[in-house]
Amino acid sequence: MERTLEFVNISKAFPGVQALNDVSVQVKGGRVSALMGENGAGKSTLLKILSGDYVPDGGCVRINGEEKNFTSPYQSIKASVSVIYQERQLLNAMSVMENVFIDDLHESKFGFLNKSELRRKTQEIIDSFELPVKPSDIVGHLSIAHQQMIEIMKAYRRDSDIIAFDEPTAPLTDREIAVLFRLIGKLKERGKIILYVSHRMAEIFQITDDIVVLKDGQLVTTFETSQTNEAELVKAMVGRDIGDTYAGIRRNDKIGDTLLEVKNLVTEDINNVSFTLRRGEVLGFAGLVGAGRTELMRAVFGADPVISGDILLEGKSVNFKSPKEAIDSGIALCPEDRKTQGLVLSRSIRDNISMPVLPKLSKRLFMDTKAEESLAASAISKFAIKTPTAEKLTLELSGGNQQKVILGRWTSNLMDTKILILDEPTKGIDVGAKAEIYQLIHDFASQGIGVILISSELTEVLNVSDYIIVMRSGRITGRLSRHEATEERVIELSMMD
């Protein structure tokens, strides 16, 4: 029998937002169904209703025609539903195997953990995911991309009938994505129902069969993937034509003198790296997981210790011992992972945006609340952050809107930025907003700011940057100008030994 999953008249409100409004959708087994929509459209909320994390205000979920009212993730897992959340839900202090088998830890006769069995089974899964990790590795020590793969393993292992992926590829590089897509293909062959959320257009056309489009909590339309195209899909999502994301960028073409010079830098993860960044230049860094791009920038920013080498800012040698010193000298780094390095989730949007400029917002003894309010308000409007108020806890924002808060923090007009380092800035950001961020990058560049762009989305690095550096295993393996750089060339360099 063919499997079906129906959402029937689902509604869900949060204080000040109608996250879902009477949404009815049906999806079938053996097909990959994409959920698309702008940031805050309600995709993750729909999946959290499926997982039993949220209880809908109205409507119900039907699986194979049978009504299900999950009130906890436990129940949905028992009903053979697995939802992989947008934010990782791992126990960082525990090992890979304990995380993967978290709800099914094997016990021996006496109720003790059967570690050898656990290790063997985890290794099998790791092999099918082609990951260079061990079952006993501590999850918190792995790269963000590998952590994401562990999160996916957790759901994959349960072999559920329904598997939902909420932006699984956002932190992944091409190599992991290829593996993931192979696995999804296998699940599809076995007749499983697969829901797939992503803001990466190419992926949608590569692996999905159907597309469901949401906007402002309402169902807009559904497409069969083969019957539509990118322009039509984007129009349905955004409500207007946005044109070609990359061709539409008004590029900065005035590149000035040298701003930053890094010479023979060595750190724990970086092996003798040199590069220069000029005023007004957008310098892209490409590479795979473990290439050392993030680590390189953290060292420049004073977040990680430097072992040897020189960093020259406007010709003067600098050696930042803390991010604060780097910020004071005009360097801003928008970090890779919003959950661990970016946001203080328990605080409001306003508090998160003002973080690096707190000293400037202090009037005599007290905080200048007016100035802070207006700083937050300008970031909210600049990035169209979807929220009823600046007081909303960042915890309650959709993933893409959280990312916008971090971008808002590092691009606020109180920052005296000379160098803007963006590590995966468009992670989780919808198509429309992406185009605006690319434009923003070039606007900054035309003010003479040097921008460093790290991205695992290859088309992004290739199209936005003026100059591209490719890294592998902590070394630079290639330098290409925008005109020389092609996808093949960059991939080749990022795999080179």
Binding site: Y54, Q341, R347, L393
Partner: protein, 337 residues
């Protein structure tokens, strides 16, 4: 946000539930106390008086808990400071203010030891501060006092412990209220206070955004030691003697009261007002039982029941809220609102 929205948020918040509980306690004891004496000026002063030391300890501890750490040592530091105070004043040659300064510096010193253990040696603050409190500070109290109770006769210190403004409000009550007000303002209105929340909410994110969590941690532990010492001084001033038990017994109840007031472990949220209301509730409740002549044994049981009741109400209200909207991961943060 509109007025209705603000009101709604307030009703769901922790402050509101604490106020409700306080009202309940006040009405109950007012009604049942002999001659409604629960709300007499004398009795209110008695309640505030019983809160003085708790306030100092709770302020110290709540700053640290919001910043993501905990401190169990201030009660013991208070004892050490009190004993030192008594010993310094015993000979009659050291002026009172020199003794006070020495004791406060000593408190800061103990706090810095905590900070070094936590930041340099990466020992969990629970363990580090317990060790510093129960071994270092307590051992120090022994050494200083030689194991005896030292009487304090200094006129200024005695005045501090007993004087009442207008013959009604004790000076120590005013000191404690001023302190919680100042710290509450620091926490909610200054850059420093914001830093406490941000570092407690996500230390690494705060560091990457240019804050200095390490420096903050040193400052807060030092501050906690200083407030502990101040409490110890007030204690000695009140009982006019430095002894070995001193304020030791205050450490755990202070933490309990802070948690009761909605400042939860994990850091990044909570308010000083909640801490104050929590203290007020606990102390008013105990006072009410006393004036109704409930035996001390039953008082302990009743306090335990109060705590359980509070936790149960909390649980029920957050679970209801969750059914309405909040994800599992958000629940803890929400209730502190």
């Amino acid at each position: 946000m509109d007025i209705a929205g603000i009101a709604k948020k307030f009703i769901k918040g922790k402050t509101f539930s604490l106020l409700c509980m306080l009202m309940l306690i006040i009405v109950f004891f007012w009604y049942f106390s002999p001659n409604h004496s629960f709300l007499s000026v004398t009795n209110i002063v008695i309640i505030l008086n019983s809160m003085v030391l708790f306030i100092l300890f709770a302020v110290a501890v709540s700053m640290l808990i919001i910043s993501g750490e905990v401190d169990l040592s201030p009660g013991f530091i208070g004892t050490a400071a009190g004993a030192t105070m008594a010993a310094l004043l015993e000979g009659g040659t050291v002026p009172w203010f020199v003794a006070v300064i020495i004791c406060l510096l000593m408190g800061i010193g103990f706090g810095l030891i905590n900070a070094v253990l936590v930041n340099k040696f990466r020992i969990q603050s629970f363990i580090a501060t317990l060790a510093v409190g129960t071994f270092l500070a307590r051992g120090f109290s022994f050494i200083v006092s030689g194991g005896r109770a030292i009487p304090v006769r200094d006129p200024v210190i005695s005045w501090l412990g007993t004087a009442r403004i207008g013959d009604v409000v004790p000076v120590t009550v005013l000191i404690s209220l001023a302190i919680i007000l100042v710290y509450g303002t620091i926490l909610s209105k200054t850059k420093f206070g914001r830093g406490v929340y941000l570092c407690g909410g996500n230390r690494e994110a705060a560091r990457l955004a240019g804050l200095n969590p390490k420096k903050l941690s040193y400052l807060l532990f030092a501050n906690s030691g200083m407030l502990g010492a101040l409490a110890g001084i007030l204690f000695v001033a009140r009982i006019r003697s430095g002894n070995l038990d001193g304020t030791n017994a205050f450490s755990f109840p202070a933490v309990t009261a802070v948690i009761f007031g909605g400042i939860s472990f994990g850091g990044g949220s909570g308010k000083m007002l909640g801490c104050f209301l929590g203290l007020l509730i606990i102390n008013a409740f105990n006072n009410g039982l006393t004036i109704m002549r409930v035996s001390p044994f039953w008082q302990d049981v009743a306090s335990g029941l109060l705590l359980l009741l509070a936790l149960t109400l909390d649980y029920i209200s957050t679970r209801r809220a969750n059914r309405a909207s909040i994800p599992k991961s958000a629940r803890r943060l929400k209730q502190e609102g």
